[in-house]
Amino acid sequence: MNDMTHTPRTKPRVSATFDEYTLSEIRRAAATGIYDIRGAGAKRKVPHFDDLLFLGASMSRYPLEGYRERCDTSVVLGTRFAKKPIELKIPVTIAGMSFGSLSANAKEALGRGASTMGTSTTTGDGGMTNEERGHSKTLVYQYLPSRYGMNPDDLKRADAIEVVVGQGAKPGGGGMLLGQKITERVAAMRTLPVGIDQRSACRHPDWTGPDDLEIKIEELREITDWEKPIYVKVGAARPYYDTALAVKSGADVVVVDGMQGGTAATQEVFIENVGIPTIAAVHQAVKALQDLGMHRKVQLVVSGGIRNGADVAKALALGADAVAIGTAALVALGDNDPHYQAEYEALGTVAGAYDDWHEGRDPAGITTQDPELMKRLDPVAAGRRLANYLAVLTLECQTIARACGKSHVHNLEPEDLVALTIEAAAMANVPLAGTDWIPGRDGRF
């Protein structure tokens, strides 16, 4: 018997193009005839803040003493036109998420956590609830294409108004809240029949383009007697021009949301293939403000994939005034917690990957309107977790800022940063680490 007569076989080879996930999606599409809808933001790997590093202090930079020398974190938003700008104690805000997509307890917890730390939370596509208003010291009221629940009383009791043009998960897209989550209360707030799929328009019903938006903002200012800061939120697509046009339209604050920013429910193909990464948007937005002479006069809030204090510090160093968190805030409340692993498995997923938020069966009681599931989220305890998390983000950001010798986190600057990859260097407009090379610096942006 000679083993060498045996014909060797090549190992089974899985296609890099048709990988296991792709194959499963083709089979799912073939079986259902419906595109995949899910929550959260882009899950593909894209250049991100991880691709940037701080240089820290050295011979020519003096660090500040931790715990002893003050590093301020306060932020004022809306200094351009509003009579009553918003003053926040930390540069981290809570992004817009609707009552309807989130449970009332979750909204309350967001308000509690944010208020404890002296920052703002934001309504979403579905109006303002009393729980949310009552537990949010500073509340930003979103003005969306659907205008669900929009009314002048809530407009006047908001602390700021955010005109939503788009969001990072789906620039150019509207929304869909499936019937499972349209309970009597949600339906009443949106003036819709109970249990039907609720579609949200992608364009505003009474304005189109920046010239109209300027007039719309004037109307909102007139209605609120020029008191409230007015934000304009865009999904990161063409951030240089979108930021410039938002400023032209009269915004006090521009919010730029990268593709890692979450959504309650959108087509997977949309989330993963439309929009640009957060790191690629910040520099362009800042450049637009600088070119207009409006940097720090119109404030910039950046969101999409902010997870830790380093991400916060990097966004600020690139020129943002504050960041907003959504997905990370939900995780702090208890979303995707391994405690519910068995229940996530029963839903065909695992803790950490659960994103069928639109189905309303969230074991953690956050992205649901099911009364029994909702009870699982204690808004006081969850609010405490969020406050803890916000405190850590702030402390981490301060730690880095002190190491760079900054007495205010806003003193962080691009000069403090380098990039680990050529892509990140080009997108963020900072040098590749160990070089003085900024790819594209002599180009248009």
């Binding site: 005839g33 205008r147 029949p193 039907i196 799929d197 019903p205 009474d206 109307e219």
Partner: protein
């Protein structure tokens, strides 16, 4: 609902000339009014197409504007009666909650957009997207309406004495549409429905509120509403998405 002012009310008028007064001052003064104010009738001269005139009111007063207004006149109105003796720009009475807005000329696009309540009467024509995303308002247009009117209209009534343009009631929810003239085309999920007695009664009430009951023949109207086939996502409706 009175469509004209009594002489007594006119005598108590607060006159504002926007040729010499700032719009901000006017709106601020209107916002400061309390429900028991004696200044219940305001007469505005020379509006000259300014935007957001009488926006955000929340008192039962009458504001009569003598001339054309720009965008968002009477936006988010509550309680007040706003009369425009002229044409109105985009989004007149947008997101109105209650009260009465009367445009005696033509109205531009998105008249009554997203409005939750109250009555909007337009004596002339209304352009495209009249009643878009309306949420409970009653709109009566004595002329015709443009394309995509009542797009995604959720609740309330849109009554058109003239004709309707293309794609009337596209993606309609529960709003009720009455059109006396021709309809150039119906949008996705909008269908003609039987006009039963309850609908004739409802229409008569809206015409009465607009002050024209008896001036038009209710039997000439046709009713349009949602087929409700898009209420739950289904792949068989893919051509409508």
């Amino acid at each position: 609902m009175k469509l004209s002012l009594t002489p007594a009310a006119a005598e108590r008028a607060v006159d504002i000339d926007l040729a010499s007064s700032a719009l901000r001052e006017l709106n601020a003064a209107l916002h400061k009014l309390t429900p028991d104010t004696n200044e219940t009738y305001w007469r505005i001269a020379n509006p000259a197409g300014r935007h957001a005139i009488a926006a955000g009111l929340d008192v039962p007063v009458t504001v009569e504007i003598d001339g054309p207004v720009g965008y968002y006149c009477a936006g988010m109105n509550k309680q007040a009666s706003v009369i425009v003796n002229g044409n109105a720009g985009v989004g007149v009475a947008e997101n109105m909650m209650s009260g009465f807005v009367h445009v005696k000329g033509d109205a531009s696009q998105s008249a009554g957009a997203t409005a939750h309540g109250g009555l909007l009467v337009i004596d002339g024509n209304a352009s495209a997207r009249c009643g878009i995303s309306m949420k409970g308002v009653d709109i009566v247009v004595k002329g015709s309406v443009g394309h995509m009117s009542a797009f995604m209209a959720q609740a309330g009534t849109l009554t058109v004495l003239g004709d309707a343009g293309e794609a009337l009631g596209d993606s309609l929810y529960e709003a009720k549409l009455f059109v006396r003239g021709s309809v150039a085309g119906l949008g996705a999920d909008c269908v003609e429905k039987e006009m039963r007695d309850e609908h004739r009664t409802l229409l008569a009430a809206k015409l009465d509120a607009a002050g024209i009951l008896g001036e038009v023949d209710i039997s000439e109207f046709r009713r349009y509403g949602s087929a409700r086939s898009l209420y739950h996502f289904h792949i068989d409706n893919v051509s409508s998405y």
